[in-house]
Symmetry: C2
Subunit: 360 residues, 2 copies
Amino acid sequence: MRIALDVMGGDNAPDAILSGALAAADLLGPAGADAAADDAHTVVLIGDRGIIEEGLEEGGLAGDPRYEIEATTEVIGMAESPTKALRGKSDSSIVRMAELGRGSARGGAGTVSADKACDAIISAGNTGACVAAAQMQLRRLPGVHRPGIAVVLPTFHGPVVVCDVGANPEPRAQHLHQYAHMASVYAERIIGVEDPKVSVMNIGGEEEKGTPLVRETNALCRGDEGLNYVGYVEGRELFEGKANVVVTEGFTGNVVLKLAEGLSAGIFKLIAHEIFETDPELAMKFEPVVKKIYAKHDYHEYGGAPLLGANGICMICHGSSEPRTIRNTIRNAIAYQKSGINEAIVERLGCSDHARGAGR
Amino acid sequence: MRIALDVMGGDNAPDAILSGALAAADLLGPAGADAAADDAHTVVLIGDRGIIEEGLEEGGLAGDPRYEIEATTEVIGMAESPTKALRGKSDSSIVRMAELGRGSARGGAGTVSADKACDAIISAGNTGACVAAAQMQLRRLPGVHRPGIAVVLPTFHGPVVVCDVGANPEPRAQHLHQYAHMASVYAERIIGVEDPKVSVMNIGGEEEKGTPLVRETNALCRGDEGLNYVGYVEGRELFEGKANVVVTEGFTGNVVLKLAEGLSAGIFKLIAHEIFETDPELAMKFEPVVKKIYAKHDYHEYGGAPLLGANGICMICHGSSEPRTIRNTIRNAIAYQKSGINEAIVERLGCSDHARGAGR
């Protein structure tokens, strides 16, 4: 498969992105293998030609056919307004990346010739711009109302998939109902959860609680035998193993995601501070414990978050992505295609009853 | 002042509630003091007469004029549907509590005679039922569109007031704009933050981000010189000291509050588990550190959350309230009245420009 990677987007770009791409060489199949083979993959590095050439040179991978260069001259900044940036920077790495994805999604009928088209696009850049560009170019899988971003949150009771976390801040209940299915397919095939328990985020457990949107989504999910629906989940229960999949509108989902990040970081900082005040020697002993926790519950492990429902594979990476985040995202993009997630989504949503397991 | 306390509501009720009420004796002024004196307060204990009498007896406070008994026979369970419970259980402690508050709020014109009326109501019971009963009986302060619950979240950079966390899941921008003012008054007078920095919770820092509700609220706050408005705050920044007051619709606010609780508890559990696995001896040394952190960042310290904008003082306590939570809430109710928060809110909202500091 062909993977389009935005080398210029992210807080640590371009170095961390390039390093991650080169560190993924072992995932791309043997150099010089038949490019049409199932396990032969190409990463298309999008961005400043000089920087990319230098990186390939330094990594000893110059001329390796598993890496292609797609030169662009513009970069969309992390804090730029997505709509303005997309309009103004047509030669940016994000716009080109989405166009490369489009070529594939539309059978090469886009602005990109069929031989250059990519099966997956990956960026750690401006999230709003990525999502907007991907929606514009890739469009939607047949039957999908609106794509949603799914993130995997590590918890004490195993990973939880939360969808949507920002692609769709004002969804209808039908969108959330589809997220339940799409995120279930993702949890099954990428995280390996069998028959994932699905819930709707709400502010209480009783049926009458919450907004009309939440209650309508609850009714749709409860009446759908294709879902292993377990009812509402409260903010507190997100970390208690009640559900494997949690659907919510993108506004709350995004706040949840960022709050979880900020609060975890804050608590560890607080503990480190307090331990150091109490006993500097204890602090040294505590450090390996924190490292072990980070290793086990590290969002970098899960790589980027897929834009589920897009007609193609689109992985949105965290702005602070490190080389291993990018490497893991490339691994996940390959796994995403190999496990046929998009085909399963189409099949599952195409069934009149959204039958559970129909897409397995 | 007279404080109506629901003895029957809460996970640890009635014991923890009664204990907390009795532990607050020193806050109520000297026994036998002139009841009309400014520092003489009465707690009206609402609930099962036998249980309350026994508690007063055991606490050596039977016959103490600072405690009155208001006998009720019904209890609204923590998981009951609020609307059904309020309709069905007219002799419940929550309904009676709200009625006692009403007598005061309406100058004794309610179902309760003027001499029994209370200035503040406190419950750790079914939150939905409390809020609904309070809204129904206390009504709103002049000029207030819709009351909102304000909680104080302890952070590394000091306490942050978040409003609303569940009273108003589908507000209009005008409601959120008023929350900015009401929560500012609360932060100033109860937490002691001078000229608090106000922000609106959003999913990005750029002006164009978020829902129409958020953008409209942003415009109202930005155009209001009466607020020390600092713009949007993201979930991550909630714990980074960017703002002292964060306004949001009750749905997201409630998810945030419960998520923060669940996640903190989860992280501490995780660390304890990991430390124990690494080195049981280290776990023993770590315990006092955790205790120190809990002592410093303990939501029990702040007691209940006020329903800002209610025509009276209504404090909603956490279901898991302990005796000291109740004691602290009684202390806060007294401070709330003494510092004239409701008068300041009315004055501030009454000013055409909502002038900052006008209510000081």
